[in-house]
Symmetry: D2
Subunit: 364 residues, 4 copies
């Protein structure tokens, strides 16, 4: 961990390179005066307004093998306790000079919970999601609603919802965490609260309360939903099960060219993404197929649930295997080639770019 | 200008302060291995999730006197040409270590144009606004629509709209620029294009095309507005004149307690702010009145159009005079006391915080 | 007044014309049995589903001369008192068999108030508007807010808002009323309440409270508007003044072909019409110009504020003079020819057709 | 079938009852003159603005027994051919004087298709739905997408979607049709087109294309939905299967008092009803339970899928058995008592009343 930021700032010119300085003593005095007044001359800056985004984050892939081994070693070496809160390894983008972020806007990490461990309750304004690349046995309490976690499931922990993780099983479990933390921090809007002391482990139904109310059938919504629930800025359905995701991808495959299908996880009661800051999608690319090259503004974090292949990222080729995680920086060219059928989960900050009128997408 | 960023990053502990390190050689080796794998241990970080926002930007006021004198000196010392684009002095928040930003999300500056000068056309994804604290004589071309600028006017230059500034008058003119540039840069979404070569100065109508179509009377909207215009993410009315703002404040004063009034500049055809990233407001506080203390998430940039008084900012008291500009960092306590009647223009990133479910406001 | 309805019903065939009847005693018995069971055979109906709308209302013009003379005679002959409520002459479309409606969905009428008379307060779910074709002197109280009425003004009395009319002047005044009454009645949703006893006449400001809050300048909206006001289904601005309408039309004329201009009255705080059931528009056609022929679903009620010319309505030509009112039935061809410059106010049920996915418009 | 309308019109007073007539010859002449001018005096009308809705439609129940027997007899007596289009028995509300409508706004009917019959393709602006009270074997083509129909399924045929019905099975089938026809007709917005000649019967998948794209899992929506599909004013999911409805009701029962549950059928991609004119709901009331009394504006058409009990409708008690259909007129008190567990499908014009600001609901 080094001290540099993952965020954006213009590259100032060194003093000696100042354009108008030369041997002008007036200008020199002037530059001193404005510095004193906390003002800076635009005409001496560069890199502020660039034809296309100049992105510090670089394309990178974290291999499943590394993630699993290193998380397991943390499980042995580092206790989880109230002080430490979570046993989490943050993916640090090599382009960000040591900041613990996968890009300038997103946090991605693996979290590891030993058998019989509990990660205690808290809530925070940054929104989070969990995607399970393998295993099961853990459940998450979301404002008191227990959600069992299994391979392929997407679990939301939206902004300001209390959450805690319990592993009543006899085996450790690991999953992928993605948060909008760098963005919320850059907006100076981080709030945090400890939750009530953790509850004893309980028997957990395979279906959460959220699923029973909002996840039974598409378009079937309970009447009498309170304004308190209806007006929240995120989906009332907080878990999307792999069985349904898988079946939907198969259904959609039939309607395209049979080579690929893609779905978006949505608020089932509204025309919006699951959370205001994070879009979630799952893509299936049939073995032997190569996708079109695309570019879009904003960061994409991708996780391989199943299959093998390669991804081209801005001219760099990376091999993919189940459990791998990779990042597609803003406006970076991106193309997938499936050796065996790839199932890739993607989350992105696209809803933010759309809300601010900044979303662009180009498909070759 | 120093090299540090204005943006957020956690404060990493120095190696020797690592919590679990002590004399544990296994852990030491482990930390080496994860660093190699571009992973970082959450349990060794601090400052990530704080009870309330920890904001680097500090409250600060730039005095009118300084802004005017230093801008005028730039006018003498620094030529404006195609290479240099704009003669702009950026307000650099003292808390941001030298970054040329007024806060982590906003850019504020004064721009100075000599008589007969032209700042040539370009467009960029960061959105901008101009607020005229004094003077007149300049006009701005917005996608070809000439907008005359006078004291108290608010002029929008929304994302991706071509703009250029012309000063056909015989006197220099200065105004306040505010942009969402740091935010758009942090989102890795900066695009930029030079415009067509500048047009010869022309006679400019006191009312722009935008005003003639969308600014005649409240609620009176032309039929047959094209989808291209209707679907843009910003207000079709790109200038709000002081005469109407002033009259509206007087009208509103009668409906409150007679002590203060506040209006919001809005898209006159929609239920939204003028731009997706910037809220604009004007507040009048009658001499002798002290406002309630408030706090809100996000940055506010305030400019005194008229009147004198003081502002309390997180315990710090600053005097205010016409032409002063000050910044209210996120969640900072803010209270105004008017000696003579204050007219204060405020712009903020509140629409972003609202869109992302992160807006909080507390009034004591 | 005859007893027939203005509303739609299929034209049943007479018994003897039944298609399958012939000499089939079984069918005859069957028809008796289903009638007994309150069932009717679709196969014996005609006119249910027609290629284009079959509209009972016919094009018609009420001349200013008639309206004024007959309203004035009512003023002499018929007292206004609590029992009688309003001195109103309803325009009865000749195609509707005597129903007091200008079309199947809209009510239009002239209302006449003698000097010193008061039409007492009440409210009802049908929404109404007043358009002043001539004169001034009356004010309307809208939930207690006094609104002075003058030539060319549009005044809203939205659903469930208390309203009463006062004429403190020394001359009688007449205006046009349009209501969505037939539609609300057909939806079985008419509610009505008497208001508090009328207030003594008062001195009325030329600008109502609604105008002071929401009508000063386009896009200038007070902060701190209560949810009670914000959430109402209609515009918070309840009067649109002729001076601004006139100036806006002149502005818009410059941007078209100089031959015609049209504006829509809108909620100045939202992307919607002034009321959920009624669209309001004002059109200016320069003398010598003939408009394109158009057709649209739903009823249009048009009033000539100024100018002369002719209107073609489904092949019928009608001359137009100031103060005339005419109706354009659904899907009827409509074309204007201005002899001298025509200013025509139009209100329609278009927002209803749009909300229900039934709006169609065709311009030749 | 008698010739009177089902729609609303005020009850005019007979000439001899006119309030002001008496022996006033001036007034008599005046009434003649205004009649000539197609004007009517408001002060002589009654019943226009009533404290609460005065509704012509009355509460009524059509028994399953009657519906089934009479539909089957139609199947024997009346051929279906291109001329006749559909073999449909419309429920005629006894309060509407013979109009073939279940209320002033809605059409309800049973449709009967013999084995091997086809009802050919057409489309119309009135929107329709089918609810299957019993049986299966028929499929409906919706813009070419074949939808198999089974007991408990809800099938939409939204405005302007081509539809045709095929019965390739060896048994007849009957179902409930509900349309917004009277409302669309009253708005003078009926358009109709014959479809392409019917297709040969085909093997039909148990899941339609619409279900495969939009009906797999809640919140799982395909990316790349075309604007043409996204912008339609109705749900892209055109069938809701009983298995999922039933499971959802069971899930919801657990979250209430265990006595009753209610769901609304919704567009799974938006915050809206399935069609802009028709709301659809399914309610389960456990045997032994009595619901609260409610009133709401607009018409409700209810069909008993299963169970027995009674319904109180404005003081009238009606017994309920599977297959019964009943109508709840606007603002009529409504209360259910379940003898055995009742499953009741309800459709209403509530979205229209909501869109127009006219929806009211009162629960005792």
């Amino acid at each position: 961990m080094s001290a540099t930021s993952g965020c954006w700032a213009p590259t100032p010119k060194a003093r000696k390179q100042l354009r108008y300085r030369a041997a002008e003593p007036d200008l020199d005095a002037y530059y001193g005066d404005i510095e004193q007044a906390h003002l800076q001359p635009l005409w001496e800056m560069s890199g502020l307004l660039t034809p296309t985004p100049v992105v510090k984050a670089v394309p990178y892939r974290w291999s499943a093998d590394n993630l699993q081994k290193l998380a397991a070693r943390a499980g042995e070496l580092v206790p989880i306790d109230r002080g430490g809160d979570r046993r989490v390894l943050a993916m640090s983008n090599p382009g960000l000079g040591g900041a613990p972020f996968i890009s300038g806007t997103l946090w991605a990490a693996v979290q590891f919970l030993q058998a019989a461990e509990v990660a205690p309750a808290h809530r925070h304004t940054p929104g989070a999601l969990r995607f399970v690349l393998d295993g099961d046995g853990v459940y998450t309490l979301l404002d008191g609603d227990p959600v069992a976690m299994s391979r392929g499931d997407l679990i939301l922990t939206p902004s300001w919802v209390y959450h805690e993780h319990h592993n009543p099983s006899s085996a450790p479990m690991m999953w992928l965490d993605v948060l909008d933390l760098p963005m919320v921090a850059a907006l100076d809007a981080v709030f945090f609260e400890e939750g009530p002391s953790e509850e004893a482990d309980q028997s957990v139904s395979p279906r959460s309360a959220a699923e029973r109310r909002f996840g039974q059938g598409p378009g079937l919504v309970p009447t009498g939903v309170s304004a308190a629930v209806h007006d929240r800025p995120h989906s009332p359905l907080t878990v999307y099960r792999w069985a349904e995701t898988d079946a939907t991808l198969n259904s959609l495959l039939e309607f395209g060219d049979g080579q690929q299908a893609e779905l978006r996880y949505r608020d089932p009661t509204r025309d919006r993404d699951v959370m205001p800051t994070l879009r979630c999608e799952m893509r299936r690319v049939v073995g032997g197929h190569t996708t079109a090259t695309d570019q879009q503004t904003g960061t994409r974090v991708c996780a391989v649930l199943d299959g093998t292949g390669t991804v081209q990222l801005g001219g760099q080729e990376l091999s993919l295997a189940p459990g791998d995680v990779f990042v597609v920086p803003s406006w970076c060219e991106h193309q997938l080639e499936a050796t065996s059928t790839l199932d890739i989960f993607t989350t992105s900050d696209a809803p933010v770019l759309e809300a601010l009128g900044l979303f662009r997408r180009k498909v070759a």
